[in-house]
């Protein structure tokens, strides 16, 4: 995976508003780990429709953190889950893990 999470989009959007940056980063730090865990629980329990819903929600956050190829992978993984195709799981997990690590260090 060549991409790494970044705050470019959030910085651009904030137009210098620290209040907005704090709010959105706080939200990501709070919600992302919960949504990742929920996804893993559903995936490991083979509840793939619910897992696809989780991926759908995570997709926006992945895009917000600057992933472009990763965003496309997420779209393909979400669609795959609904068709019984799971080959992108490892690639998707690499994205989630890198975001996890990134948010922990913010």
């Amino acid at each position: 995976m060549n991409e790494a999470p970044n705050l470019s989009y959030i910085k651009e959007l904030s137009a210098g508003s620290e209040e907005f940056e704090e709010k959105i980063i706080g939200l990501l730090k709070r919600e992302f780990p919960e949504e990742k865990n929920e996804f893993l629980n559903n995936y490991n329990s083979s509840v793939f429709k619910a897992a696809a819903e989780n991926v759908h929600k995570l997709k926006h956050k992945i895009g917000m953190l600057g992933f472009e190829d990763g965003y496309q992978t997420t779209i393909a993984f979400e669609e795959g889950l609904l068709k019984g195709e799971y080959s992108l799981f490892s690639k998707f997990m690499l994205i989630l893990d890198s975001i996890d690590e990134f948010l922990k260090n913010l």
């Binding site: 989009y9 959105i24 939200l27 990501l28 919600e31 929600k57 926006h60 895009g63 917000m64």
Partner: protein, 240 residues
């Protein structure tokens, strides 16, 4: 322009709200995490523009649009490109934004919204201070079935029958079973058109085909009339 944001995702509401701060004369009046809360708001307030998420649990953005009799301009916000075709079926949808929404793309959507004329008088009634769709409130009834709000045109209701904890609403086209009581629905219906003729039946007075001693015929249903309700029924008839 004033606007509201409907999205189940807090981050998405925060982002659209932030983008709105970068446009002059665009005021966010309210934000909603689901469509049902927004419908209640729109029954009382009139707005110019809605930022609407499509993919929401229980009640999608498209379900929401279908409940609006005179929808204002709508900009869809979604992470899913697959709905673009469906979006073109709605005249009120002025643009379709893919998340994460960038500022240049957002500004383009606002320009489109500004240059699109309002769909009708009711949709733009904020400038006159009129409440949205007064007629809609009089004629429409929303019922909750499987966590979806379905609109019923009140004049099309034939009969309502009590069935334990539920009521069966029979309309000209379709029947609906709803968890409610006759008393509750009676309060929502116009008194001059609907009449309780039996402890288990409320009828649309205008749909009576004929009346026999203890019953009325409405569509194909024979509805019993209790002895105590018969005088009121007879009083209302335009007898020759």
């Amino acid at each position: 322009m004033n606007c509201i944001i409907i999205d189940d995702e807090e981050a998405a509401r925060l982002i659209i709200g932030q983008l709105c701060t970068q446009v002059d004369d665009l005021d966010v009046i309210e934000e909603f995490p689901n469509a049902i809360q927004a419908i209640k708001f729109l029954n009382k307030e009139s707005i110019d523009l809605i930022f609407l998420d499509i993919h929401m649990p229980d009640f999608t953005g498209f379900d929401f649009i279908q409940t609006l009799k005179n929808p204002p301009k709508i900009i869809l916000t979604t992470s899913d490109k697959n709905f673009a075709l469906e979006a073109f079926e709605y005249e009120c949808i002025v643009d379709y934004l893919i998340k994460p929404v960038t500022l240049p793309r957002f500004l383009k959507a606002i320009q489109k919204a500004e240059s699109t004329p309002a769909l009708d008088v009711a949709a733009s009634s904020s400038s006159t201070g009129e409440a949205k769709g007064t007629g809609s409130e009089e004629n429409d009834l929303y019922i909750n079935i499987d966590r979806r709000l379905i609109k019923i045109d009140i004049p099309t209701i034939n009969v309502i029958e009590a069935k334990g904890d539920y009521i069966l609403i029979k309309t000209e086209k379709q029947n609906y079973t709803v968890h409610s009581t006759l008393k509750k629905i009676e309060e929502k219906l116009p008194e001059d058109v609907f009449l309780k003729v039996h402890r288990s039946y409320v009828i649309n007075f205008k749909k009576i085909i004929d009346i026999e001693d203890n019953s009325v015929l409405i569509a194909k249903d024979v509805i019993p009339v209790s002895r105590s309700k018969r005088p009121e029924l007879m009083r209302r008839l335009n007898l020759l």
